[in-house]
Symmetry: C2
Subunit: 310 residues, 2 copies
């Protein structure tokens, strides 16, 4: 196979994340051909017009022929459907490209592969947007962000090395962990927060006072991801069910704790609870705001600040 | 009393919101003296050094003497305590300045006044930050944001007009409503979202996988306000209890709906639910992002976009 930046990369599905990766590879010196397959022409034509890809093909067998790397950039369930049939199709072509994917859950995706394919490296870049589609692709989407890979004992170490190098070339830091840990951690850090934003948005939509029109910066941020792609999040909810329900239950338990403190008027304990949250959140400010040079600065400022009227 | 921008304004308590209002008044042509009182010197000295105020006084009676307007910029419970004693102190000075406040709930604050003071105009600017203290004050904090006033039949209309003009001079749009409606709407649009951010942050902090270190943009936004001032939010939780518990219950009910859909694997209904949220959120994008010229743009783009692999 060709060396890193001369490899032929074929994206199966072209949307926000896959399009951003294609753009990022090109901006970072990729000289190999970058093409895409998809079931319908419009988004591929848009990707071509935007310079995200060099070419596309609506025929899957033709698209994957000669590929060094297949990056599956479809919504989760479509990703699973592709993984279920790709090994057989590649066998027919006598080809063994590296395969990686971008789906937000890994256990379910991996389980869709009918047989072992050692050059499949399950992946998940921790980056996204409430906007969707290749029109929203951004070359800097992955800078400073984590990309998680979940290979197992049967995965070809060379393939892992290659996919690691690809993510590092677009500015990500790569973490390797088990698919099980990934799915539990991401259910808590990403999937359950999306469900909270949805639940909050629906509660506000059903309120006769229409409180959303009085929203400020807090509500802007707490509902931003409720505008995320419904198909993508339907798929996440269906395919990471157990971990997601556990993560939601953990948040519900905390809401019950807070409600009880509010109902009993326990100001001392509420202040203590909120202060713990403030310090936990600030400790993670640099991870959560990798591109913001001021992230974490408040920590120092605050330590030296008096409190007004409290 | 002096005309609008020559009035002497005295802030009682100087923090993020009151400091931002002082800065905003100065940036928008205020020539009257802007001073402050507070129980301790450090934040007042900082405000003076930053040019937020022209002067300060640690003695309340001296500070309020000669004021045209008193703006109470203390945390909610301290605001109530000041309102409980101010009318008597002003009577002793034979003075009737306009009084307004900035607290996030209005019913409780109004109830702290022992007698009617017609020139008190309860107010609440819908603006804030997870940072606190006068060091974090910003002159543009109120631009495009709503400022809600909750006068009642006994309030002096001239005082309402004056406070309205003050908020409009710093770029806000003013809405007048009843204190009861305000407290219910804000419980839903602001207070309950803060509790959700706190509950999510505590659930993550208690998770042995430490999922927050894998957070991306979604978690950044869903936990940003968990770094808010613990005293301020303790006070909100204690003083808007009933409405807040109702608003939290409405979100919990929606979480139960979502959990049931996830558990039963009802993909069709999940997608419908998420699509409703997407459109509700996008309809409010201009309200929630008043300074972002691209807010709401995705609506148009999306209508004309095909869907990838869904």
């Amino acid at each position: 196979m060709a060396s890193l930046n001369t490899a032929k990369v074929v994206f199966l599905g072209l949307g926000l994340i896959s399009g951003s990766l294609a753009l990022a590879l090109k901006r970072n010196g990729w000289v190999g051909k970058i093409t895409a397959w998809g079931p319908r022409a419009p988004s591929l034509e848009r990707g071509l017009a935007l310079g995200v890809i060099d070419d596309f093909d609506l025929d899957l067998s033709q698209a994957i022929a000669g590929a060094d790397v297949l990056v599956i950039g479809a919504p989760p369930i479509s990703t699973g459907e592709l993984l279920a049939t790709l090994p057989r199709q590649l066998q027919a072509l006598n080809a063994t490209p590296i395969i990686t994917d971008l789906a937000s859950m890994k256990g379910w995706v991996i389980d869709q592969m009918p047989e072992s394919y050692p050059r499949f490296v399950p992946g998940h870049p921790i980056a996204g947007s409430e906007n969707s589609g290749v029109m929203a692709a951004r070359a800097d989407l992955f800078v400073g962000r984590e990309a998680i890979l979940t290979p197992d004992a049967s995965t070809d170490p060379e393939a892992v090395k290659w996919v690691t190098a690809m993510w590092e070339s677009v500015g990500s830091r790569v973490t390797v962990m088990s698919a099980t840990d990934h799915d539990a951690a991401l259910a808590a850090s990403s999937h359950s927060p999306h469900m909270l934003a949805y639940a909050l948005t629906m509660a506000l939509a059903n309120d006769p006072l229409n409180p959303m029109r009085h929203g400020g910066g807090a509500l802007r941020d707490m509902t931003r991801i409720a505008a995320s792609d419904p198909v993508m999040w339907r798929d996440v909810a269906l395919t990471n069910k157990g971990s997601l329900i556990d993560a939601l239950t953990a948040v519900e338990d905390q809401l019950s704790v807070l409600k009880a403190l509010i109902a009993s008027g326990d100001g001392e304990e509420l202040e203590r609870y909120f202060a713990i949250c403030r310090s936990v959140r600030r400790e993670h400010d640099r991870v959560l705001n990798p591109l913001d040079p001021s992230a974490g600065a408040q920590l120092t400022e605050d330590a030296d600040k008096g409190r007004d009227l409290s």
